[in-house]
């Protein structure tokens, strides 16, 4: 994985500190061209990996990438699935079974043989595979070396003790897409222990890691201890902790931590993108020998 990954929250009005900013972003990125322009700014700054949720609009971005193979030769996407709000809003409206009916591809009960059989036989892992395939459709022909499970699902399965499902996800992504499985989580220590106990060694884990200790469930100290032990390939996200500390301070903290393979960040403007990238490069040179 590259040292710096570009995220997509800003494109889809995800802002953890301000609903006003969130709406402003939603206006700014109304057109797909605005998203593509921002991705190109990140590429110019040397960031060639886009880590994004499987939002419907990403399909259009993927189309653009496929149509410009020369330009995006080195470009990679790390899909993160599912886009949870789509399902959460549907569950309130349709119930759980109704939502599955709506989103599992084909006619759930019949015409699509695999789906119908999976539902009737309650083969949940098969249903999961169908949902993964549905989410992955838009990335056809694009380099997706790591495929992530969103934190709301990872952490739900973790809390429910459904370790077999986490393992099944891990194995299916490898087998079907020849990609590595990644897990986004707000509970790194607990997830890592669970995955290790299930035989998954050195997993790719993307977690909130920041100087403020924000959303580092289980405690910042435990995170720092685990990082020292080098037991997983870590992507640090929410490094700015929603703006709780200054960008310089925030990035210095993350760059000083050992065994963080990548840093994920998102920004809307050229100034902010370039500032963050150069801060990471600067601190990487100054303070941390990357192992």
């Amino acid at each position: 994985m590259e040292r710096i990954l570009f995220g997509d929250n800003q494109f889809f009005a995800v802002n953890h500190i301000s609903d006003e900013k969130s709406m402003a972003q939603s206006m700014k990125f109304k057109e797909d061209a605005a998203i593509i322009k921002t991705l190109d700014i990140a590429r110019e700054a040397g960031v060639e990996t886009f880590m994004c949720t499987t939002h419907d609009r990403i399909a259009n971005i993927c189309e653009h990438i496929r149509n410009n193979p020369e330009k995006y030769r080195d470009f990679k996407i790390f899909p993160c699935m599912p886009y949870a709000h789509k399902y959460a809003n549907a569950v309130t409206e349709l119930g759980i079974a109704g939502t599955l009916k709506q989103y599992v591809p084909g006619n759930f009960f019949g015409s699509l043989f695999k789906g119908g059989v999976a539902f009737l036989s309650k083969d949940y892992l098969k249903i999961m595979e169908l949902l993964i395939d549905a989410e992955m459709k838009m990335f056809k022909g694009i380099n997706t070396p790591v495929i992530f499970l969103q934190n709301v699902i990872t952490d739900l399965l973790l809390g429910l003790g459904m370790t077999d499902v986490l393992v099944a996800y891990h194995d299916y992504v490898q087998k079907k897409y020849n990609a590595e499985a990644g897990f986004i989580t707000m509970n790194l220590p607990k997830l890592l222990e669970t995955l290790e106990a299930a035989g998954i060694k050195n997993p790719i884990i993307c977690a909130s890691i920041n100087k403020a200790g924000f959303r580092m469930s289980g405690g910042k100290e435990r995170y720092e201890e685990i990082l020292k032990q080098n037991r997983c390939r870590v992507i640090a996200m929410q490094v700015l902790a929603g703006g709780a500390v200054s960008p310089k301070e925030a990035i210095e903290y993350v760059c000083r931590l050992p065994n963080i393979e990548s840093i994920l960040f998102g920004a809307s403007s050229k100034t902010n993108i370039n500032e963050t990238v150069s801060l990471i490069r600067q601190f990487d040179k100054e303070v941390v020998p990357i192992p």
């Binding site: 500190i17 006003e20 939603s26 809390g159 429910l160």
Partner: protein, 336 residues
């Protein structure tokens, strides 16, 4: 270890179950639902004992506390049965279908000395608690107006038939969505005691309201406006906010960001004249396990701690949720 059972593993129940499952002080002794699809999945992949009949679960698993997350129409009878059996109860919101249904349960829980809590999670959100501190401290001066709002994209097209679309079962924006804002106003300011006017509108739903607008009066005689709409797609997810105007200052706060303007001192510690902005990142106590927001874990931790005798039963009691049910019923009665 607190022995906990859960009845109902729909959208809220499944999240409560995961939070309970991750809590080292909890032993989940039973999970109950009548929907085979979900229950089978839990039975197959989770370590929890499963039941399709809650009475059987109570008898066999002997939980000391139960989480009730079933459609609202079942709350009253289930909660009553649990209390009569001496079981501590956490129930989802809204508490009951009417204040008449809920009143005897408030009394029963008190008489039995059992822990009682309702799932109004906003009371565990850092920004809203900070708002309450500022209001309680009198820093806004005499409060003369408030505006409570919530918007989100729940029903955005004309279809869908679940219990949430049935008015008899506690469906609709007023009961399901606006109740959060009503409860927050009751908590931060003072309980709603009168409704001057209200409008319940269907936007896409056939049977229930999708939007609620009302003019409210509180016990302390402060008046204000309620504006809630769950058919508003310009919001990515549910966004709840309160605006409170006082003679010495004004607060505008949602779950992420608190903005407060002070005309003059004295100020709360760390605040000064003019605008002040605080973010949830600075106001949120850490939780041991995070799922959808710190508040969901925090409210369940609070319930478990209260059952274990390590916290007192003061937040989101049946009594406070009953005040919210009462306000809902007043809004229904006054609708134009």
């Amino acid at each position: 270890m607190v022995r906990v059972g859960i009845i109902g593993i729909g959208k809220m129940g499944i999240s409560h179950l995961a939070i309970l499952g991750a809590n080292p002080d909890v032993k989940v002794v039973g999970v109950c639902d009548t929907a085979k699809m979900m229950l089978d999945a839990i039975e197959k992949y989770s370590p929890f004992p499963c039941y399709s009949d809650y009475k059987k679960m109570l008898e066999e698993a002997k939980p000391e506390a139960v989480v009730v997350s079933v459609p609202t129409k079942y709350h009253a009878s289930m909660v009553q049965e649990l209390l009569e059996k001496g079981i501590h109860v956490f129930t989802e919101k809204p508490f009951c279908l009417s204040p008449e249904q809920g009143a005897p349960l408030v009394e029963l829980a008190r008489k039995k000395g059992l822990v009682n809590q309702v799932g109004y999670h906003n009371k565990f959100v850092g920004t809203f608690n900070e708002v309450k501190k500022i209001v309680d401290g009198g820093y806004l001066g005499e409060i003369y107006h408030f505006l409570g709002q919530a918007y989100g994209p729940v029903v955005v097209k004309a279809k869908g038939d679940t219990w949430r679309s049935n008015p008899e079962e506690g469906g609709g924006c007023l009961m399901d969505y606006a109740s959060h804002v009503i409860d927050l106003i009751n908590y931060i300011l003072s309980p709603i005691t009168a409704v001057k006017a209200s409008m319940l509108k269907s936007v896409f739903s056939r049977e229930v309201d999708d939007a609620v607008f009302a003019l409210l009066e509180l016990q302390n005689k402060v008046t204000g406006v309620l504006s809630v709409n769950w058919s508003d797609e310009t919001f990515r997810k549910m966004t709840t906010s309160v605006t409170i105007s006082g003679k010495k200052g004004k607060i505008v706060s949602d779950a992420n960001e608190l903005k407060v303007w002070f005309k003059e001192g004295p100020f709360p510690e760390g605040y000064s004249k003019g605008w002040n902005v605080r973010h949830v990142t600075d106001l949120t106590p850490e939780v041991d396990y995070y799922l959808r927001g710190e508040e969901y874990s925090a409210q369940m931790d609070h319930f478990i701690k209260t059952v274990a005798g390590k916290a007192s039963n003061t937040i989101n009691t049946f009594e406070s949720a009953w005040l919210t049910d009462r306000a809902i019923s007043l809004i229904k009665k006054e609708q134009a």
